[in-house]
Symmetry: C2
Subunit: 295 residues, 2 copies
């Protein structure tokens, strides 16, 4: 999987940070998490073809997370986009999209479907997306992409037994036993399991159970950190996380790497945010627009 | 007056060109013509304080001209903006804004008013805005800002007569006669008129009467030029101007300077567009994002 940060600011954009959007690619799938104003141009600058996009996940309907959606849909509709776009979001998503599309003159005539979801697990071909409720004063969801575990062939065993490439190996990878030269070969002897990677995306929330559920065992936890602790009251008033709180969640959840995003415009440079978080959780980095992470 | 081009592309933004928006400042007034997606960030990059903004003029409701509006209103509403914002646009503008604001979760609680207008002249303190209908398949308006003429004092006459600074000079500037040392001084003898400058803004239209009416005697004609002439059929199909047509309009309208904008994404560099126009109208330039022109 590859993560590309398209926007890492919060409500007010800065010269350096656009509104929220994160692109995650996995084989043929392109997942967009939130679509703040200007996201279609950020995709262009990041050299991500629109044809790659297959699913959009909305965390909540505050403007800085969604106002790039109508423009993106207009551009998809006027391009040679040939996929069926799926849009997932919390309750109210259908009505919001309907209003946005009535807000300007254009017919969206490509195939797309909108799903209003709550806590659930969405199963796709190569991965699932765990959906948890977050606490942000409006319906708000957090997401975790978890790759399916993969069963791989123990090549030394296969070589020793002389099993040829082909359907027999496929069966073993499907966790089925096979017969070869009158010997029964069990998957547990001829294969091993590679655990799928997990990326958790926690945008705009107070510290709550959903944060911990999503963060648990994540290879990468992407979390908002709108404020530092000296503005803890402000964070509470506006239902946001401080850098310290995000780091605490990471340190208590067996997280491999913490990436902080959604920084308030007041942090001209992110040193203070990084310092606060990394004191508690060392493997913290601060996202910047167009940063890429391979997972 | 100063013009700042905030976005000079068309429907699909490029790395170099954002969606349409033009900022014109005149004394204390800040006029925004169209507000494509990303305009609030372009304002930030151009170092234009949001507090300067007093009026927004919408040409038409295609997405690339308006989808920055909801985000801009959200940011104005959450900042210390203290003006009364006026939004002008063609029929349907109120309903469109209403839909856009219902498309996300936020209360716009600063003073603003929306005016649906058609062909008219809007009179403001230091300038008027002439509004003409254009032909673009949807209700579409073009605008011309015309400074009020200014009556200035002939200092040599005033010196000779010995009239002191103060209310007497003010009266003369208001085109009223005064008495000084028992002599009647007429405004025509003691003052002269400086003609106000004119900026015409013609975005998204076919060649039509409105274009010529706006362009007439303009110091600066800002015109869309979505295509070059080899795509004239496309321009006609989508109700747009070619560079040649814009230049012809300029050359027939006593225009001082032609500035082309709204270039299709297909023109990676603007040389071809410039060449076509400047063959017909020499004083043509191509706008780029953040270009400034003093008028």
């Amino acid at each position: 999987m590859e993560i590309v940060f398209l926007g890492t600011g919060s409500m007010v954009p800065t010269k350096e940070r656009n509104h929220q959007s994160i692109f995650v690619s996995h084989n043929g799938e392109g997942l967009l998490f939130d679509c703040g104003e200007g996201t279609q141009r950020q995709l262009k600058i990041a050299n991500i073809r629109l044809g790659k996009l297959s699913k959009i996940f909305i965390t909540h309907w505050h403007g800085d997370h969604v106002l790039g959606l109508p423009g993106l849909l207009q551009t998809l509709g006027s391009s040679d986009y040939e996929r069926r776009l799926e849009i997932y979001g919390p309750e109210g998503t259908k009505k919001r999209v309907e209003h946005l599309l009535k807000g300007f003159s254009f017919n969206i005539d490509f195939e797309h479907e909108i799903f209003e979801i709550s806590e659930t697990v969405l199963n796709f071909k190569d991965f699932s997306v765990v959906v948890k409720s977050l606490e942000h004063g409006v319906p708000c969801l957090g997401y975790a992409i978890i790759e399916h575990d993969k069963r791989k062939i123990k090549t030394n065993v296969i070589k020793r037994l002389g099993i040829p490439d082909g359907p027999l190996l496929g069966k073993l990878q499907e966790n089925k036993e096979i017969k070869w030269n009158n010997i029964v070969v069990l998957p547990k002897d001829a294969t091993f399991v590679v655990k799928g990677k997990k990326i958790a995306i926690v945008l705009d929330t107070m510290l709550c159970n959903g944060v911990y559920a999503l963060a648990k065992d994540a290879d990468v936890l992407i979390s908002e950190a709108s404020y530092t602790s000296e503005l803890e009251e402000k964070a509470e008033e506006y239902n946001h996380l401080t850098a310290k709180q995000a780091a605490l969640a990471a340190s208590q959840s067996n997280v491999e790497k913490l990436v902080l995003t959604h920084l308030s415009q007041r942090y001209k440079t992110p040193e203070k945010v990084l310092e606060e978080a990394s004191t508690i959780f060392k493997k913290t980095i601060i996202a910047h627009d167009f940063m890429k992470i391979k997972v």
